[in-house]
Subunit: 329 residues, 2 copies
């Protein structure tokens, strides 16, 4: 057993690949058994290969003692969410692992076993990758999806009077992080606490994008916060009017809000929701609801695209924070 | 001017993208002006999209005070070299930048300006990317190329009596690193010193792969050392016999060797050469030389594939180091 906890210096790069990464490839021809300098992509019918990438870094997107499973969930969710937001379905991914000395063989085993679970759930495989050593754990990943060119969901393709829809519930992962940092702790039931912690450690992507794409004009996934991401969709030419009380919050979130443990504007300006904002012509309302229902996904109509630039409540109050500026450092 | 040296916290992520990364995109349709969650890839005629990726990490692949240009050169060369080794030509790339606090606006400007230079030289563009903060500088990149499926250069497709060719000269970058670390310093002319330092800081890929692919049975680029990489090609079913004195070394390397500042076996077991080892049926010798000559690339016939597993000198001595085992940490 101690052997399993031994540090990686007792194992060669090719052994790591052989033992922990090759099983993630599902023997796909595209990768030449990980024996070549590169891999290739197939494309099916008229589908385009869609590409997205995301990195997660220790102390920024997760913490040193977080489980390998949670870290695997985060790198997969942030990328799958982008694929879904483009109207594409998952195909494969590459993995660049930069690992510090504290990573053990046991960690690699948990990490790779959990990746397999996610790969089977969402149907994608590991195409290739690269290993490095580093001082912090950093994982960088490029994900590939398939989408019909005409169905790719773009931003900025909105029309006045289009409906604005959002999937799931807002702010869940953010409350988890607040609880973790002990900023929301007074008077919450342990069940509620654990509910939100799970949302923080195991955020899930909303994979409805591919199925719903052809009924949408535009879409985005919420990674920087509902208001900020909606702003990216409407651009500078349009605006949005939001019915604040139609914004979806979970049963437990309602308790948090009622206890004044959190302000509502925090929920609509926090990140990592991984829900989709979809801009849909009104005539497609039924179709959208039907697809969501069939896929057991909660979806809420929350507002409309308007001519006036900005994001407003139904009473005309601007919802964009005054100092909206995302600093890099 | 001081403004230019200011830290990145005075600039937002979207400003970094707008000012330093968008210019690398050459306005390509595939990226939707960097406004979407993802990009798409085109494929041309019967070509496949080839994918490779590599990360470079501070203190491992470069040092903190290395110039932004040298770092840009390294991330591009390691990836382009893989594309060439697969017989593909460059198409585009994604860039994941994990940047520590010491990175300045001036650094980003140098880095991106140098990338443009390389992009124009080798004809590829930036498809997309991701920015994070971190404690060490880490750059992870996925490169895409195009190759006809039937011309993809694979490993392990060798036949007995095939010729082994190698491009350029061996061990150049390694000597640069040794000089940098002051391990090779006695009695070398400053001109020679600078020659090798340049090879270390600015390694260049040998981009002949796409042109020569259909005349080769197999190929690889030298990133872990000539012997180790040749071993990957011959696998466990074949072996190679090498004429040691036909291994290509530069005029300056001959001086280094003559002064006994380096052992010959170091040169054939060091990494980052980014030259190509090509396995070619004997009947294609003239064609290979003709293409190399036309592209002003030095190419040397250095041995043959044999039945006995292992890598041997012409006198039958094994050239594989006894403790050949690449540790991860």
């Amino acid at each position: 057993m101690t052997e399993k906890f031994s540090k990686l210096k007792s194992i060669s790069e090719s052994q790591i690949i052989e033992k922990y990464l090759k099983k993630l490839n599902f023997n796909k021809k595209e990768s030449f058994g990980f024996n070549n300098d590169a891999s290739y992509l197939n494309s099916f019918n008229n589908n385009k290969n869609i590409v997205t990438n995301d990195s997660i870094v220790e102390d920024v997107d997760f913490f040193k003692n977080d489980s390998a499973q949670s870290i695997a969930q985060k790198i997969v969710t942030s990328n799958l969410s982008d694929l879904s937001a483009m109207g594409s379905k998952p195909y494969c991914y590459t993995l660049n692992l930069c690992m510090p000395k504290y990573i053990t063989i046991n960690w690699l085993e948990s990490f790779s076993d959990y990746l397999i679970k996610l790969q089977k759930k969402y149907n994608f495989f590991l195409l290739g990758g690269d290993l490095s050593k580093s001082k912090q754990l950093m994982i960088s990943s490029t994900f590939f999806g398939h989408a019909e060119y005409k169905n790719i969901i773009s931003r900025n393709k909105v029309s006045i009077d289009d409906d604005i829809w959002v999937t799931g519930s807002l702010g869940e992962s953010y409350v988890g992080l607040k609880i973790l940092k002990n900023k929301v702790s007074i008077n919450i039931d342990i069940k509620i606490k654990n509910y939100f912690l799970k949302k923080y450690y195991y955020p899930t992507p909303c994979m409805i994008g591919y199925k719903i794409a052809k009924y949408c004009n535009s879409g985005i996934d919420i990674s920087d916060g509902f208001i900020g991401d909606l702003k990216k969709i409407v651009g500078t030419r349009f605006g949005a009017k939001i019915k604040l009380n139609s914004l979806p919050t979970s049963r437990f979130m309602k308790i948090i809000l009622k206890k004044n443990l959190l302000r509502f504007d925090e929920i609509i300006n926090c990140g990592d929701d991984y829900e989709l904002i979809l801009i849909v012509p009104n005539k497609n309302s039924n179709k959208i609801q039907e697809i969501a229902h069939k896929n057991k996904i909660k979806i809420s109509k929350i507002g409309k695209i308007i001519k006036t630039n900005g994001i407003f409540s139904e009473y005309g109050k601007s919802l964009v924070p005054k100092n909206y500026f995302k600093h890099f450092a």
